[in-house]
């Protein structure tokens, strides 16, 4: 009987150790900048912050652009701040020139959460040509920010 308890204890310790090791590896992968094994890749390529708080935008970006869409279409109000064009200009990957694709800002998250995205059947997913920042201005890619872990926290249910 005593031996049995020892066995169980040893087995559970081994399981715990494995779990810890796996977590550590995932964290290491994230901090070193490599793509994590799962989850969306959410990057910003231009500017330091979004037009609204990140938390607000995660929940309400669709409402923001829906409101702006009607203002622009029906009333001719063309402010840049909440326009889809502005989203694309900042978030498009300079390599693919798009917010779509496997690692695209919009598509990676929408695929992960299984929410269909209809904007780009009509709208272009590429930024305006003259709106693109010169590549030489940011040679080391210092402004590029990886926010993967923060977003994954939200998606995994840590809603405040």
């Amino acid at each position: 009987m005593r031996r049995n308890i020892k066995h169980i204890l040893a087995a559970s310790l081994a399981v715990l150790a494995t779990a810890l090791l796996t977590t550590a590896m995932v964290f290491a992968a994230e901090t070193s900048g490599a793509r994590p094994a799962f989850g969306p890749t959410v990057k910003t390529y231009k500017g330091d912050k979004c037009v609204e708080d990140t938390d607000y935008m995660r929940r309400n970006h669709m409402k923001v652009i829906l409101h702006q869409r009607d203002e622009t279409m029906h009333r001719g109000i063309r402010t840049q701040k909440h326009s889809l064009k502005n989203c694309v200009d900042c978030h498009a990957d300079p390599k693919t020139n798009s917010v779509l694709g496997k690692d695209g800002f919009c598509e990676s998250c929408h695929v992960y959460t299984s929410v269909s995205i209809d904007c780009f059947t009509c709208h272009t997913a590429a930024p305006e040509k003259n709106g693109q920042p010169p590549k030489a201005a940011d040679p080391a890619g210092l402004k590029e920010k990886m926010r993967t872990s923060a977003v994954m926290g939200t998606i995994n249910g840590n809603q405040p």
Binding site: M73, R75, G76, T79, C122, P127
Partner: protein, 241 residues
Amino acid sequence: MSLSRREFIGIGGAAVAGMALVPGLRLVELARARSPEEAATRLQRWGLLVDIGKCHDCNACVTACHEENGVTSHGRPATDAQWIRKVELKDKLTGYVETLPVMCQHCAEPPCVDVCPTGASFKRIDGIVLVDKHICIGCRYCMMACPYKARSFVHEKTTNQKPHAPRGMGTVESCTLCVHRVDAGRIPACVEACTKDGNKAMVFGDLKDPNSEINKQLASAPTTQLRPDLNLNTGVRYRGV
């Protein structure tokens, strides 16, 4: 006339004070362009005048429009979208041929708006008739209702759209009078191209402004609407049809 330094400063100061004291109230419109946060108003009604006498065998307006709005051909003329087209009129007795560009006529009483079941086809307050593709279901009633055949259905998947001109399969589209340009205080691409590369046959302007170039030209010589019998009060007028 020369101004002394003192007079110049005095006039300048008065002008600045005048603008600061009565914001929103201006005796003279300072600029035609609205700021981006200002909505379109009923103080304007945008229109076009095409002088057929000057319009010859030239396609500059069509090319410029389709370039500006990213309207590309799939090589299938029967189903390709066209926002503006050149129509040829031939006098069978004399053999005289004239051509004219036909696009959305931006009617004051648009039949396409009357028949639209979803409200996608609408007239903006400044007279520009548009399709809100977000709520267009692609039923094509508007295409049937339009006496000018100005609208097209997008049959195929679209790529490489312009950021200012979204286009998508399953929706109806037509000339927007280059609304993105008009909102920025510019003239439509067709008019720009006609003036630059064509025969200077098109004039764009505000039909409600008595001093606008288009109104002066409308008042100076006879013009007509296409199908005036329909009483649609079109925003696009023609001279010499």
